[in-house]
Subunit: 330 residues, 3 copies
Amino acid sequence: MSTAHTLETGGQVATAPVRHFISTGDHPRAVLDAIVDRAIANAGARSTALAGLSVAMLFFNSSLRTRSSFEVGIAQLGGHSTTLEVGAGVWNLETIDGAVMDADKPEHIVDAARVLSRYFDAICVRSFPKLKSLEDDLADPVISALRDHATVPVINLESCLWHPCQAMADVMTIRQRFGRTDGVKVALAWTPHIKALPTAVPNSFALAAAQFGCELTIVAPEGYDLPEAVTAQLGGATVSHDQSLLSDQDVVYAKSWGRLDRYGEPPADTLRDWILTPEKLGDAVFMHCMPLRRNVEATDAVLESPNNAAYDEAENRLHVQKEILVELIG
Amino acid sequence: MSTAHTLETGGQVATAPVRHFISTGDHPRAVLDAIVDRAIANAGARSTALAGLSVAMLFFNSSLRTRSSFEVGIAQLGGHSTTLEVGAGVWNLETIDGAVMDADKPEHIVDAARVLSRYFDAICVRSFPKLKSLEDDLADPVISALRDHATVPVINLESCLWHPCQAMADVMTIRQRFGRTDGVKVALAWTPHIKALPTAVPNSFALAAAQFGCELTIVAPEGYDLPEAVTAQLGGATVSHDQSLLSDQDVVYAKSWGRLDRYGEPPADTLRDWILTPEKLGDAVFMHCMPLRRNVEATDAVLESPNNAAYDEAENRLHVQKEILVELIG
Amino acid sequence: MSTAHTLETGGQVATAPVRHFISTGDHPRAVLDAIVDRAIANAGARSTALAGLSVAMLFFNSSLRTRSSFEVGIAQLGGHSTTLEVGAGVWNLETIDGAVMDADKPEHIVDAARVLSRYFDAICVRSFPKLKSLEDDLADPVISALRDHATVPVINLESCLWHPCQAMADVMTIRQRFGRTDGVKVALAWTPHIKALPTAVPNSFALAAAQFGCELTIVAPEGYDLPEAVTAQLGGATVSHDQSLLSDQDVVYAKSWGRLDRYGEPPADTLRDWILTPEKLGDAVFMHCMPLRRNVEATDAVLESPNNAAYDEAENRLHVQKEILVELIG
């Protein structure tokens, strides 16, 4: 419920702006590195860093890992969390500024942001894109409204554009496997899927890989580009349509996403030959944010291989998110 | 799980009846005043008053503020809460005495009340009216069954008839703004809405305003009366259809509710000119229980004004409910 | 998050297999007796046995008692729980090995089991039978997959076949009423219902009654048999279609279940004369796992009788489950 950190300086009290965690790109590498360092050092530790504090977990969409890892992590830090599911137990929220609210949404997100800020010390929110209008989704309306109107830190649990907690766990996993991130060869490998999925996970993984000095290659079928707002931040990433590059990588990060030029449409061509197999991967470490559709995105054999680091990534969500919370409100 | 407070008197042990918080009208002003005093004094404090205790939060309907503020408040008191959503994760509950239960409700509320009393130290319940039969709703069947069959304190999170925790937060907000409640001029101002809403909030606000010595005026269109069972308890409240009275008030408490003589029917006349604007309010403090439909009940300008005390009301839910819990089970 | 108990023996470290609680039949009577002993001794006690530990509560189906009693019990032991509802807030889970996952279930239970094991110290799961294929349900696919793939203890909150926590509370209730279980005459009495219910509760009650030395009689209409996989474990239980045997019992355990030979079909004959009444029960203690359909399974008079031990059973869920948790992870 504190609205900002106060810094006492020679008798004066200055108020620092509220710090959020919406994209890794909002923070310098030194801050991100320190979070990963502490996550590795403190993995499994219990503390009282969040004693007396409460965190809101606001879900517009489903979750298994995110919800579990945050609730457990907050408990391991001695804090309290409340999980709120919008539209199921919690009022539907209007996101349009100036709306005449005479339809099915009885509460405005501006008001929800302000009210939640009165109860909670941080607000974590998951809000996927609606996949109807690319322009609307690029504005990331829910997380933007919370950032603008909440008076406590906002943590992104996956928005239209970014999934920074996942990317931090991914980077931590690379650090664990290779002892470093700089110069590690990572491919972001497109996989088949029955739906046109959002780009938040590939956006954040690609951005974090670039920030942490990885050598990034994006391997995807023609037409499967990431948003320009993202690729503009990636520096010298290679883009290729050639799956044979995968076996030459240290890490293959598998993920499906939809075409931006046929936004939200179910895939016309299922491109099932883009499924990942042990043969395509060679010795590369396999990573995936999960949930994963077995035998569509990757074969059972990939999942059962010792090169599969997806469970470590999932575990690292817990460790790294605890340090993000401590960084912002601990 | 204690079924009643025990009072030790000269070697004898007497059992006091279980105390509930169903309407402010069940408690003398001195008790209510003391709760508000403590809520103001202890705002933001952490304690162990509920250490080792568990509170059930039973929702038949949606909630944002109520759920958040209770869960956070219980945590700040060192207690534990379990949130149960009836019909979504929890069995549907039959409320009719003697029913042959061969339809869609597998559990009787009498049995749920008794069982929850074995697990929890208090039961908080939200159950809105069904808005089909005024007579049925005036009997307030869910909260009445819990009161009659639970053996631990029952706290009303908004029933068909009353929303006493909201009213206590409202009174606290008036105290904060004016340093007193006696003689403060408050108007309960009807607002437009797309639905016929329940009267629980205006009932409880009007009753609490009367109990706390406010000078109450109800300003509503013709035909929009509150239930006689409520107005009979209000003493000398003024009733008017004249919106020009609003600018002459210290406080304008905005709220929509439906006609009792066309019970539950969508409004035939939307009466959009009853929307609240800065012009109508003048210098009066604006209050609202939220959620609020912007630009239907009140304009954005009202919400963005420094006279808007609705966020304070929401925050005060947290503070005052903690003291209600401590009063009953702390 | 510990994957197994480690036993230090003379400088060597051996890893014991993970212990689950899936059926009472998996554990010798001495272990079960000790759990009941401790549940009686520790009823109502608070401790820090689970301090720093987190328990997942994974629900594929609704619950009131199970969810409440586990959440409260874990809190009374100083632990933390996270309640996850599959398909409502949590991804739907595929249970078929080797499935090509291109339908409506985005995550495989094998992966969920492994991921939850990274976050939680135990996984409690409720997964009712689908009641479409007896053969499929007898394989108990969800709990079996969790047992096989989780690396932390799995506790059964009612599967297709078993409800062991209920049976432990039942045995505890018999112990409280009679001071013993050996030689107590208990009837498992079939009751009418509008649906074909699963056999998990009667299976587990019958098995536990046999394990604890009760004299068991199953009284049900012709055609209402329990699965052979269960009855094979019951030793010398009597089976009868004669309701007049009930009044000769110490305990009548009421429960409805569906015909196995018309699996999942709504009852053709409602057999309403199998409703339990005070006359049929005589002096026998009435037990039921709840929820109970009043005036369909048993009359209001049975429920309101002092011989009704169903509320004690519900309360004992709390006490006995705490000791099961302490046994496995405390």
